[in-house]
Structure formats: structure tokens, C-alpha cells
């Protein structure tokens, strides 16, 4: 049998060779600053600053501890301070919705980077719980969780929804896998993130009052005397949406064993000028359902 296979393959693949190369493209790479931050309205700003390295570089990625990080608004300028020798920066700056924020980072070893964002407005999200108000995916009665909000019209808006349930045994909130039963979430512009949250756009309900609902699995929190669910609903920026969506797609592409389009490459979205990463901004409301 083997010889027949060899004969067949010889005809087809005679003349196919393979070698390894080191393209010029991959050399002379200049390391950039990578900003990772999520600014939330009403909460102190935090930021993580690391570097990027050449893809050929086998050493690990490093934090950047001694950078000058400035936050500017029309009203004030604040400096973000690093923890000692650390690459985590923090400030008492509190983002407020509707106001532009400019972040700039300087370090002598890197090209300066900056980003300008606006905290999205509050969309008055209201979360409600109806015990055994729906049927779960098994057809059994489950708690109905509803989130209603007012989507601003005449512009594209993006949202992130996380639902947690209280685990009585370990005494902590556990992310609940979200069932995307709403038509607005089943379209092409909705993604489930690795933290079980879902991000979506308002393409199918632009400018209207929207209610998103899901049904928890039967009996999930039936023994909880007090806290049952926590709903985090965030009005996020388009950059936030694009960034998470590209991260998700990159993770999906890693699971594909063959080389698909563009060699499975996914360009991670960034809103950091001259650098990488994301300055994500969100207006978040948190509701604990009891």
C-alpha cells in the first residue's frame, strides 16, 4: 500500500521544496509603548504601560516603569504615578461623561504616544429581575433578567453587558454565560468576550429604547438568601468595541490549524497614536439584583 501512496504523491508533489527565511521586514523593529487602560466614569484612572518587541525577539515583554503619563482635560491636567518600580500607573483623576480626555505618555527610550477619548454619556440603564419569569435553554423555568436603556439616536453606539451570579459557596460573583437570544445580539456585530460579557452595537435599534433580556439556568441562585445577580452595563466607545472584537477574532484565529486568509492574521485595533494598545472608556452602571 505504501508504495502506491508514494508513487501518487511523487507525481503530485515532485518539485515542492521548503526552506526558512528571515525577511527584512522583521528586522530593524523599533519597540513601541503599549498602553492598556479602561477609564470608567466616576472611578479613578488606572493604566498599565508595557513595551512591544520584535517578533523575532525571544526575550519576554517588559513593563515600562519610569514614564511621564499626563491626563489633560479642558479643566485640569493630572499626572499618573507609577507604583514603585512598577508599570501600573494610577491617578485620582475621575473621568466624567461627555468631556474629552487627552492621555499622553513620554519616555526617553520610546516615541511619545497619545490618545484622545470622550467618555460616553449615561444611557439610563435599568436592570430588573423576575424570578422564574422565563424558560432557560433546557425549557425549565429560570430567572428573567432585563436591562432597558435609551440608545442615543443619529450616531453609532456600542455597549458591553456583563452578568454575574452570586456563588453562595465561595462567596463571590461568578460570570454568567450570556444567552444571546435577543435579535439585536445575534447579528454579525455582537461578540461574546472571554469574561463572558457580550459587546454589541446599536445597528438594529438605533435611537430607540431597548430592552435586552436573558434567562438564567434553572435553579442557579435558588439557595441565595440575598444577592442573586449583578448586572454591569456599559456604554462604550467604538474603539473599545473594535479593540475587544479584534482580540476575540485573534483568539479564534489561533484555534484554526490551517493558514486561512492573511495567514490567520488579525490586526488588533488601537487608538494609541504612535503606539499600541487601547485607551478604553466606558460609562458603566452596576446593579445588584436581589
Amino acid at each position: 500500500m505504501k508504495k502506491y501512496i508514494i508513487i501518487s504523491l511523487t507525481f503530485l508533489f515532485f518539485g515542492c521544496y521548503q526552506d526558512s527565511i528571515q525577511p527584512d521586514l522583521l528586522e530593524n523593529y523599533k519597540s513601541k509603548m503599549v498602553v492598556n487602560a479602561i477609564f470608567t466614569n466616576g472611578q479613578p484612572a488606572k493604566l498599565q504601560l508595557t513595551n512591544s518587541s520584535a517578533v523575532m525577539d525571544s526575550s519576554g515583554l517588559k513593563g515600562i516603569p519610569n514614564a511621564t503619563v499626563m491626563i489633560e482635560t479642558v479643566d485640569e491636567t493630572k499626572t499618573m504615578s507609577p507604583s514603585s518600580g512598577d508599570f501600573n500607573y494610577s491617578s485620582d483623576f475621575i473621568p466624567t461623561s461627555g468631556k474629552p480626555i487627552k492621555l499622553s505618555v513620554r519616555h526617553p527610550d520610546y516615541v511619545n504616544v497619545s490618545s484622545t477619548v470622550i467618555v460616553p454619556v449615561n444611557v439610563n440603564a435599568i436592570s430588573t429581575l423576575t424570578e422564574n419569569g422565563g424558560l432557560d435553554t433546557s425549557g425549565l423555568p429560570g430567572d428573567l433578567i432585563q436591562v432597558s436603556f435609551n440608545d442615543p439616536g443619529n450616531k453609532s453606539n456600542f455597549y458591553k453587558l456583563n452578568i454575574f451570579y452570586w456563588n453562595q459557596t465561595i462567596g463571590d460573583w461568578i460570570p454568567m454565560a450570556f444567552t444571546k437570544s435577543d435579535p439585536s445580539l445575534t447579528g454579525y456585530n455582537s461578540y461574546v468576550l472571554s469574561d463572558a460579557g457580550v459587546i454589541f452595537s446599536d445597528e438594529l435599534f438605533n435611537g430607540s429604547n431597548k430592552i435586552i433580556q436573558t434567562v438564567a439556568p434553572n435553579g442557579l441562585v435558588s439557595s441565595n438568601p440575598d444577592n442573586k445577580y449583578k448586572v454591569e452595563f456599559s456604554h462604550i466607545t467604538s474603539d473599545f468595541f473594535e479593540y475587544y472584537r479584534s482580540i476575540q477574532r485573534a483568539d479564534d484565529a489561533k484555534e484554526i490549524s490551517f493558514n486561512g486568509g492573511f495567514n490567520n492574521a488579525v490586526v488588533i485595533h488601537s487608538n494609541i497614536d504612535n503606539g499600541l494598545g487601547i485607551l478604553a472608556v466606558q460609562n458603566t452602571s452596576e446593579t445588584i439584583l436581589k
Binding site: D251, F262, V267
Partner: protein, 764 residues
């Protein structure tokens, strides 16, 4: 629609009442090729008509008989006394030094029987020795193969699914064998290949990149039975033709792989099997009424099967697991065509066709356990495909000597199968049998109804216009779209040795093939345009200049600019290929643009013929969901020079041919850096998509043909060598990491060189 028919009927009445006589027919050269742009003049009257691109003419006049002049600068003028109301074939004698290059047809149009003729394509070097119409087209300017070694067609920065390939008027939805390495057509089953690389008459519609019209042999310069037998490393093939000149034809072409037949039957059934076949059968007849009827049939199939026995069972178990994987795909085309000549100025051609493409992947596991009486079996079957049922009625009405109007109605009923998954489990002792069907249990329907009209308006002996409009009404699942497609083209014959052509077209495409990783793969899925996935639209502007050069050379220069909207790309390969998920959730939308300049110089006479072409072309894409900015299309190649030369002398024992290509390397995407994302995971950094252009593409292919006549049979041995200089033209460049943290990178490159091919041919 009613207005158009009404106009046609009124005009027909008008013509029949007032015209008292006519002369019609074909004007041909000594090789029975039609001669375009011949002035047909009624002597003594200001009454002139012109032959069209096929050499057909119709002169209407008011005398019963007339003396008619046939005038063309490259041919001796002929004067005839012609009885009215006759059809005849007129032969013109070429002048000394005549260059018979055909200046007609639209800008961007090419074929191998009129525009680019006498090139002896049988002597072109072919990959693995398999004569391939796609590879002939790949040597023309503006048409690229895509991935090295493949038989795909990327026309002027368009994608493969944007080409409509027609076999005798019927569209084929997968024209590849061997995952894209070979075309599905027996070389001999194609008498002429025509390609509209952008602009096209209003009769053609439904794709935004090109229309490739393949015609089988239907007439010949002599009657008789011909045939040949061909053997290559991949296939054994036969071609038989019986032409009754002007009265009917019968052609049969068939190929089948033979290597698998060398493998014992038991092994083929149980371990490994791979075979392909295709068959093309055409039959036509001229009826007593001079109407013509023809039947065309085509069937292709690829079949691959591998089965492995698993020995990793638990030690305590005695079972043996056999896992099999089968992949197969097939095309089935059938059509009936009826051509009518209703009167001297009104012709019609009606066609009914069906084209069916189906691909299937089957995973099967069987457990052979001596302890149980059944054979527990699980089987997963994935199916995708498309069926196209079409009906057309195409008419030509010659209103008068200056206006010839083409109009028609075309309808395409498509039934898409984007993905169906059947899961079966049976024979397990403690588990009930399972038989579930998920995905699209029924086909998804769409209809494309097109009405078109086009006036071929001859302004004077040097100027004519083709002014057309195509109107398409598309429906799918409640989504309706009415699209208008202007088709405007002007031809200006400057000195009858050169022509300037200019045109603008709009085309819409109401279906897309989702590329799930590799062009030509049977896993790629045809899907309809929907309310979410809008039809792709193309606007193209083209300018061309063609010139006869001396006696045996001709040159052309084309400039084009294209803009495409509503392009569809796949954002998530695994989700898009999962039939349980809506494919619309896994696509992204974008735009594209391309432009270019193409030069072509050809030599069409003598023992040595061929062509030299150079194309400067750029193609870009913008998919904001994939990358914020515009990036280069995957098969963008700014520079490409192609040379095809053959020496063909039937009296010589040896003939030869070669291809030489020199141009920009292929694009690949490589990561340039890495960084930590907001979740703390390492991600790769790409400065853009398609960021790495491989080294200069250079390829020299050679064919050597040994002609031998023994026992009264013409025999040929054809020897080929692909990439004979061994240039490294990558078919893949991929970044390979040793771990998920991307800590160590190796960039692997694969390429083809010194690939031999051989074919043995016996003609009878």
C-alpha cells in the same frame, strides 16, 4: 419590459413593410474567419452597411436587385450583382501585406480565435502536463494565477468568485479539480475561450470581474470524424468529434485519473482512494427550417478518501477503531439551446440550463469490538452547494443599416445550500441511535431576473457605439433590489489600422463565495446577497488603443480603473464554516479599487508565434473591520511581464514552446512584533495586512513536443518542465511559533521548482 417588446414589434413591422430587399450573410477570409468593418455599399445609392465583429452583415435596400460593393482597406474590393432577399457567404481576397488582426470587440476583450489567434496553445507548457484552459488565460495581461502553482483566475484585482465561467452558455460554479491545481475542462472540449476582462455587452451580467465564455467545437472547415487519446500523469482522456459542416456536430470529451486504478480494489475501498473525472458531451443539429438546436452536458467529480485504523484503545479493551474521511465535490451542467432566424432581420436564441455544484465532507468512525454484535458507528456529514436553473431568450434585431439591437430576458433561479450538517450514531449497545440534521435543512432560494437592450449604432465607417442598459430585479427572502447597469462603449477606427475604444460599465453581483481559507477549496461556500449582505457593485472605466503592426504583429494598450463596493470577506473562519451558525455573523464588508495599464504585442503568423505582455496594476481593499486603513489586495502584483513563444511546424519532428514570467512577488502577511493585550495575553502586531512581498517572481516553463507518425497514427510525446530555472516563487510564507506565547519564530517558505510533466497523445 413591455415598452421594449412593443418597440421591437413596431420596428419589425416598419422594417418589413418598407424594406423591399436585402442582402445578408457573412464576409470571410480564406481561413473562414469573419472579417469585421467591411463596408457593404449599394452602388449608386447612399446606402451603406457594415459587417459586425463576427463578419455578419445585412444590407437593406429598395431595389429588387442591386450591385453591391464590399470594401475593406486590407482586402481587394469585390463587386457583385446580388439578387435581393438572399443569404450568402462572401469571401474577400486579402491584399499583399495584409494584416488580419481583428480590431473589433469591446476594450478588454480577448479570445483565442479572433483577437489572439493562431497561437498553437496545445504547445504551451502546462503544469504536470495537463492542458488547461485556465493556465492559457493566466498568460494574458491582467489575469493572475493567485497562489503559485494553482489554476485560479484573478482578473484585474478581482476575486475568483467574481468571474463567471460559462460552458456553452451555462455557468459553472467550481471549475477546479484537485483543490485548484487543474481545471475541470478537457482541453479539446474547448474550441474557443473568450474573456471580457471588465467591459462587456449588456447580454452578460451577474459578475463584477470577468465573463469567461468557453465554447466547444460546433463547426469546422471540413466534415468528418476526429479524435485523440491523451495520457498524462494525472489523467487518461479521450476526445471524439464528428462535425457535419454547417449541419450538425457531436463532440465527446472525457478524462479520468488512472493512478488510483493501480491500487488494489480492497485498498481503495478501505484505506486510500483519490480519483477525478470529467465528461463533456455536446450534440447539435441544423433543422429543416434552418433553425439550430443543441444539447450540452457536463459532469465533473473529485473524490478523496482516507481511512486510518486507530490503535490507541484502552488496554483493557479489545476494540479497533477505524476513522475515515471522505471529501468529494461535483458539477453537473446540462443545457438545451435553440437558435431561430425568424426573418432576415430578427434572430433569437433561447436557452434552458441547469448547473449544480455540490461538495460533501464525511467523517466516519466505526468500532469493531468482538464483545458486541453490532458495529457502533458515528458519522458526520457536511454538505454545501448551489443549484442554478436558468432560462434565457436573447434576440438580435437589425433595424436598419445603422442600428442593430440586441435585447433579451434572462432569469436565474438559484438554490443555495450554505451548509447542512447530518450527525448519525448507531449500533452503540447502551445508547439509542441518533440521527440529527442541523444547519440549512432546506435550500435557500434567490432569483435574478434581467432585462437588457443594447443598440449597436454605426455612426459612420470609422465610428460606432454600443449603448446598452441592463436592468436586474433580484429577490431573496423578502429582500428586493432593482439594479440598473449602463453599458456604454465607443469604437473609433482611426486609420483602419488602429482603433481607439472607450467604455464605462456597471455590474452587480448577487452572490458571493465565502473563502474559508484557500481559493479553489470545495469548503468555500456560495451564499446569496441578503438584506444584510448587499450585492457587490462594480464601476469600471476603460480606454484602449489597438494597432496592427506591420504584416504579422499587433499591439494593444489598455487603461482601466475599477471601483468595487459591498465586497464580502470572512472574519471568523471557524464560525463561517459551522452550518449551525448563521454565516452572516461571520462576514465583514468592504470596498475595493484597482487600476492598471496593460500592453500586449502578439505575433500571429509563421512557425514561431506568441505574445509578450506587460501589466502595471494595483489593487486595494478597505475592510475597516479587519484593518483601519486601506491595504493591498492579496494578489496585488504591480509589475508582471509575460512571454509565450511557440515553434509549431507540423512537418517538423520537434516543436516547442515556453512561458517566461517576470514580475512582482506575491504578498503574504507576517507579524512584525508582539505585545501584551489588556487581558495580559500576548498578541502579534501587524503593521498592515499583506505586508510582506516575496522576492521577484520569475518563472520559465518549457515544453518540447515530439511528433511521430507510425502505423498511420499521429502521435505526440509532450514533455514539460515547470519553473525550469528553479526560481524560488513561494506558494506559502508562514510564521511558525514554538508556543502560544510566540517566544520563538521561524518563517517557513514553500515553493515549486523543476516540476516535470509529460503527455502522450494519439490522434485518429
Amino acid at each position: 419590459m413591455r415598452f421594449l417588446y412593443l418597440t421591437a414589434i413596431v420596428n419589425l413591422f416598419y422594417a418589413n413593410v418598407l424594406a423591399q430587399g436585402y442582402t445578408s450573410g457573412f464576409i470571410m477570409d480564406e481561413d473562414e474567419n469573419g472579417i469585421p468593418h467591411v463596408q457593404v455599399i449599394e452602388l449608386g445609392e447612399n446606402n451603406v452597411s457594415y459587417s459586425n465583429d463576427m463578419g455578419a452583415f445585412l444590407l437593406k435596400y429598395f431595389e429588387e436587385d442591386a450591385r453591391v460593393l464590399f470594401v475593406h482597406p486590407d482586402y481587394d474590393t469585390l463587386q457583385l450583382q446580388i439578387n435581393s432577399s438572399t443569404d450568402r457567404i462572401i469571401f474577400l481576397q486579402p491584399k499583399v501585406g495584409n494584416n488580419n488582426y481583428h480590431l473589433g470587440f469591446h476594450a478588454g476583450f480577448l479570445d483565442f480565435s479572433t483577437k489572439n489567434k493562431n497561437k498553437n496553445l496545445e504547445n504551451m507548457p502546462y503544469f504536470l502536463g495537463e492542458s488547461d484552459v485556465n493556465r492559457q488565460l493566466q498568460m494574458l495581461p491582467g489575469i493572475e494565477q493567485g497562489t503559485e502553482g494553482y489554476s485560479n483566475l484573478f482578473v484585474r484585482g478581482g476575486d475568483v468568485d467574481q468571474n463567471m465561467m460559462l460552458y456553452n452558455g451555462t455557468p459553472i460554479y467550481n471549475y477546479n479539480h484537485l483543490f485548484g491545481i487543474s481545471s475541470t475542462f478537457h482541453n479539446k472540449s474547448i474550441k474557443n475561450t473568450k474573456i471580457y476582462r471588465g467591459l462587456s455587452p449588456a447580454k452578460y451580467g451577474g459578475r463584477v470581474s470577468s465573463y469567461i465564455d468557453l465554447e466547444s467545437e460546433k463547426n469546422s472547415s471540413y466534415s468528418g470524424l476526429d479524435g485523440e487519446f491523451e495520457m498524462t500523469p494525472l489523467n487518461a482522456g479521450i476526445y471524439i468529434s464528428n462535425i457535419n459542416k454547417g449541419k450538425g456536430f457531436f463532440t465527446l470529451a472525457a478524462r479520468r485519473s488512472w493512478i488510483d486504478l493501480m491500487v488494489p480494489l480492497e485498498s481503495r475501498q478501505n484505506s486510500l482512494n483519490a480519483n477525478i473525472y470529467d465528461i463533456q458531451l455536446n450534440f447539435g443539429k441544423t433543422l429543416h427550417s434552418n433553425d439550430k438546436i443543441e444539447f450540452n452536458f457536463m459532469n465533473t467529480r473529485d473524490f478523496y478518501f482516507i481511512s486510518l485504523q486507530s490503535d490507541d484503545s484502552l488496554p483493557s479493551s479489545n476494540d479497533t477503531r477505524v476513522v475515515g474521511f471522505t471529501q468529494k465535490w461535483s458539477n453537473l451542467l446540462a443545457s438545451i439551446k435553440y437558435k431561430q432566424k425568424l426573418n432576415y432581420s430578427l434572430n433569437a436564441e433561447h436557452q434552458l440550463y441547469i448547473s449544480s455544484y455540490k461538495a460533501k465532507s464525511i467523517f466516519k468512525e466505526e468500532i469493531f469490538d468482538p464483545n458486541i454484535t453490532t458495529i457502533p458507528t458515528t458519522q458526520l456529514e457536511l454538505t454545501n452547494g448551489i443549484q442554478d436553473l436558468g432560462v434565457q431568450s436573447n434576440w438580435t434585431f437589425i433595424k436598419n443599416n445603422a442600428h442593430s439591437i440586441q435585447f433579451g430576458l434572462q432569469s436565474s433561479f438559484r438554490f443555495f445550500q450554505p451548509g447542512k450538517k447530518i450527525y448519525r450514531s448507531q449500533g452503540y449497545p447502551t445508547i439509542a441511535d441518533i440521527n440529527t440534521i442541523t444547519g440549512n435543512t432546506k435550500s435557500v432560494f434567490s432569483n435574478e431576473l434581467s432585462l437588457y437592450g443594447e443598440d449597436h449604432w454605426r455612426l459612420n465607417d470609422k465610428t460606432y457605439f454600443d449603448l446598452g442598459l441592463r436592468q436586474v430585479y433580484y429577490t431573496h427572502d423578502g429582500y428586493h433590489k432593482l439594479a440598473f447597469e449602463p453599458r456604454i462603449h465607443g469604437t473609433f477606427l482611426l486609420q483602419h489600422r488602429d482603433a481607439l475604444k472607450v467604455g464605462y460599465n456597471r455590474h452587480n453581483q448577487f452572490l458571493t463565495q465565502l473563502n474559508l481559507g484557500r481559493t479553489g477549496s470545495p469548503d468555500n461556500i456560495w451564499v446569496p446577497s441578503t438584506s444584510l449582505v448587499k450585492p457587490t457593485q462594480l464601476d469600471i472605466f476603460e480606454l484602449s488603443y489597438e494597432r496592427k503592426l506591420g504584416k504579422i504583429y499587433a499591439g494593444s494598450f489598455n487603461l482601466y480603473s475599477k471601483r468595487m463596493t459591498n465586497l464580502v470577506g470572512v472574519s471568523n473562519l471557524s464560525d463561517a464554516s459551522n452550518p449551525e451558525l448563521d454565516w452572516q455573523s461571520s462576514v465583514v464588508f468592504g470596498t475595493g479599487r484597482s487600476y492598471g495599464a496593460e500592453w500586449l504585442i502578439q505575433k500571429s503568423d509563421g512557425d514561431i508565434t506568441g505574445w509578450l505582455s506587460y501589466a502595471y496594476s494595483r489593487s486595494f481593499r478597505t475592510f475597516s473591520d479587519l484593518y483601519d486603513q486601506e491595504y493591498l489586495f492579496s494578489f496585488d502584483r504591480p509589475h508582471m511581464l509575460k512571454l509565450y513563444v511557440n515553434y509549431t511546424n507540423p512537418r517538423s519532428d520537434w516543436n516547442f514552446g515556453f512561458n517566461y514570467l517576470l514580475g512582482s512577488g506575491q504578498l503574504f502577511t507576517l507579524p512584525i512584533g508582539k505585545f501584551r493585550d489588556i487581558n495580559g495575553n500576548t498578541q502579534l502586531e501587524y503593521n498592515t495586512l499583506n505586508n510582506y512581498r516575496s522576492n521577484v517572481y520569475q518563472r520559465f516553463d518549457v515544453s518540447v513536443i515530439r511528433l511521430k507518425n507510425t502505423y498511420g497514427l499521429e502521435q505526440e510525446w509532450r514533455f514539460y518542465l515547470y519553473n525550469a530555472l528553479g526560481n524560488i516563487n513561494p506558494l506559502s510564507v508562514a510564521a511558525v511559533f514554538d508556543s502560544a506565547n510566540f517566544s520563538k519564530l521561524v518563517v517557513d517558505r514553500a515553493y515549486l521548482a523543476f516540476v516535470p510533466g509529460v503527455a502522450y497523445i494519439v490522434k485518429f
